[in-house]
């Protein structure tokens, strides 16, 4: 039987061959009841293509996740395009980060020239509209049989169990989790597009009501309406685009489970797999990273992701984020747009990690700009800590 291992040399050859050349949100983000999620896809697509200086007619690959049973068919028709290559990989909020790796593969294989990755979701406004949102699951599927009889609810309840185990094993505290909420809010206060821009203290977090113990309300991300899109093309073609190309230096993807009871180890994430893949492909070390954007569905998600990616040892995430280390002025700039906790979070947040990393590496971030940022680490997490995509992005 042939070996299924892929050598680091093979992966290294993929480094820096494609670039993100356009990135933007929909015209409005936050609470946008007057637009469908498909309209949010469309606005973001238009804005990201304008940013890239590329026409919709040049898009030959569409990558998306979310709406309906065939996301890429739905969005392609809505946009009025007939792409020769589509990818509806839909593994939660990490999907759009993973799409970058998939787009890179398609571009390097010569199957497409321009990949458009879109997201649009009305997580806030759809709650008030019957029939919107997720379709029901087949009652014969595992979750309806083995989870729903015990609890029906969203991600907070299952992420809370992961956090609880982490607290039990490593002594992680509510205060350490709150450090992340406070630091992220400080970044949001520097971002005019962020929804939550009032100052926040550790005590505010600790005195907010319980959603699911051990999570307070302010440990949890927002639920908003928003769209986002990025455009990916070959590094060669990227040189013809108006803005500085953001090279995809490393990428990795991992999935470990769907339902939380099937998660092999509650105290880590698949970033423990996708992270090393991305770092090895890029040939960079953790200390080289200038800015880090990770999915913060909950304060805990950010904390455990930093451990899984290897920025600190397993179990030491609480100490790592203490003393406002991840805040503006701290030595580890994290989630510089204000994150899902304070900027925006329509439900599948991954695309916004990419948009912020691109803006930081281009130097477009104004007050919240990390000076001289040249290398960014992006990590999307999806499902119930089920899937991750890690990227190392850089500028020459």
């Amino acid at each position: 039987m042939p070996s299924n291992s892929i050598s680091n040399d093979d992966r290294r050859r993929l480094s820096g061959k494609v670039a993100i050349v356009g990135a933007d949100e929909s015209d409005e983000i936050g609470i946008v009841p007057g637009k469908s999620s498909l309209q949010l896809h469309a606005e973001a697509a238009r804005n990201a293509l304008a940013d890239a200086g590329i026409d919709m007619s040049d898009v030959d690959g569409l990558f998306t996740a979310g709406p309906g049973w065939s996301p890429s068919l739905q969005v392609a028709e809505y946009l009025g395009i007939q792409p020769r290559y589509t990818d509806s990989t839909s593994v939660g909020g990490s999907s759009f980060v993973i799409h970058v790796e998939h787009a890179a593969a398609a571009i390097q294989a010569g199957l497409i020239n321009v990949a458009l990755i879109t997201h649009g979701q009305s997580g806030h406004s759809d709650r008030r509209r019957p029939g919107a949102g997720r379709p029901g699951l087949d009652p014969w599927f595992p979750a309806p049989q083995f989870e729903s009889p015990y609890h029906v609810g969203g991600p907070p309840s299952v992420y809370a169990m992961a956090c609880m185990r982490h607290m039990h094993q490593y002594g992680t505290t509510h205060e350490q989790l709150a450090e992340i909420a406070v630091a992220t809010r400080k970044w949001a206060m520097l971002n005019p597009k962020a929804m939550m821009r009032d100052p926040l203290t550790i005590d505010d977090v600790l005195s907010s009501r319980w959603i699911t113990y051990p999570f307070h309300l302010l440990d949890c991300c927002l639920v908003t309406d928003a769209g986002g899109a990025v455009v990916v093309t070959s590094a060669r073609r990227a040189n013809d685009c108006p803005k500085k190309p953001i090279l995809v230096l490393g990428s990795g993807e991992a999935t470990t489970h769907q339902t939380i009871a099937s998660m092999p180890d509650l105290t880590t994430t698949p970033a423990g797999i996708s992270g090393p893949l991305a770092f090895e492909m890029a040939g960079v070390r953790h200390k080289d990273i200038d800015v880090t954007e990770v999915y913060d569905s909950f304060t805990y998600t950010a904390l455990v992701t930093l451990e899984a990616l290897g920025f600190c040892k397993k179990g030491e995430g609480g100490a790592f984020v203490s003393g406002q280390r991840t805040a503006p002025g701290g030595d580890f700039p994290l989630n510089t747009n204000g994150g899902g906790l304070s900027y925006t979070h329509p439900g599948m947040y991954g695309i916004f990690l990419l948009i912020e990393a691109v803006r930081q590496l281009r130097g477009e971030c104004g007050e919240r700009q990390v000076p001289g940022a040249k290398l960014a680490c992006v990590n999307g997490t999806g499902g119930t800590l089920s899937s991750t995509g890690t990227l190392i992005l850089g500028v020459e």
Partner: protein
């Protein structure tokens, strides 16, 4: 208990999980066991998700285990729980290995009464004519909350 008032989701057994639910109906926990791996797995399939082998049998397990982790749910996202918040969800690791998503019952929904790795045992509630739902309660005596609705699992004969 007036069963017609049971307002939470009632599971629908699939062909592959029928024997699990038949065991529960007898207030017994029966799980699939992989003969080559010599280990149990959950949730039920007709093959072992560890080795993808199809040499499977069903065995009764003890119904004892420990809390791998838990969370206290302060909001009801479904009308079935509207009158019951806060309540406790948990992942229980059985002594035989597999982990089950479940509720902890007969314990205060308070972090002072709960801890990871605490020993628990299965109890069953008859929620419909067909379905008895396994939940878990602390093995050591703990303060009771409300009326006790369930009884411990027995070790009578299992599914044929």
């Amino acid at each position: 208990m007036p069963k017609q008032q049971y307002a939470k989701p009632i599971p629908t057994p699939s062909p592959e999980t029928q024997r699990y639910w038949e065991g529960c109906k007898r207030h017994e926990l029966w799980l699939p066991f992989c003969r080559p791996c010599q280990s149990f797995f959950f949730y039920p399939r007709r093959f072992c998700p560890q080795c993808f082998g199809w040499d499977i049998e069903w065995r009764q397990v003890s119904g004892r285990g420990k809390v791998y982790s838990y969370a206290i749910q302060h909001r009801a996202f479904h009308p079935g729980w509207a009158q019951e918040t806060p309540y406790v969800t948990a992942i229980v690791e059985l002594d035989e290995g597999p982990r089950l998503y479940t509720n902890l019952v007969d314990v205060e929904p308070d972090p002072k009464s709960l801890r990871c790795d605490m020993p628990v045992e299965v109890v069953f509630e008859d929620i419909s004519e067909e379905i008895s739902l396994p939940r878990f309660r602390p093995v050591l005596p703990a303060p009771r909350r409300g009326p006790v609705r369930a009884r411990p699992g027995s070790s009578a004969e299992g599914p044929a």
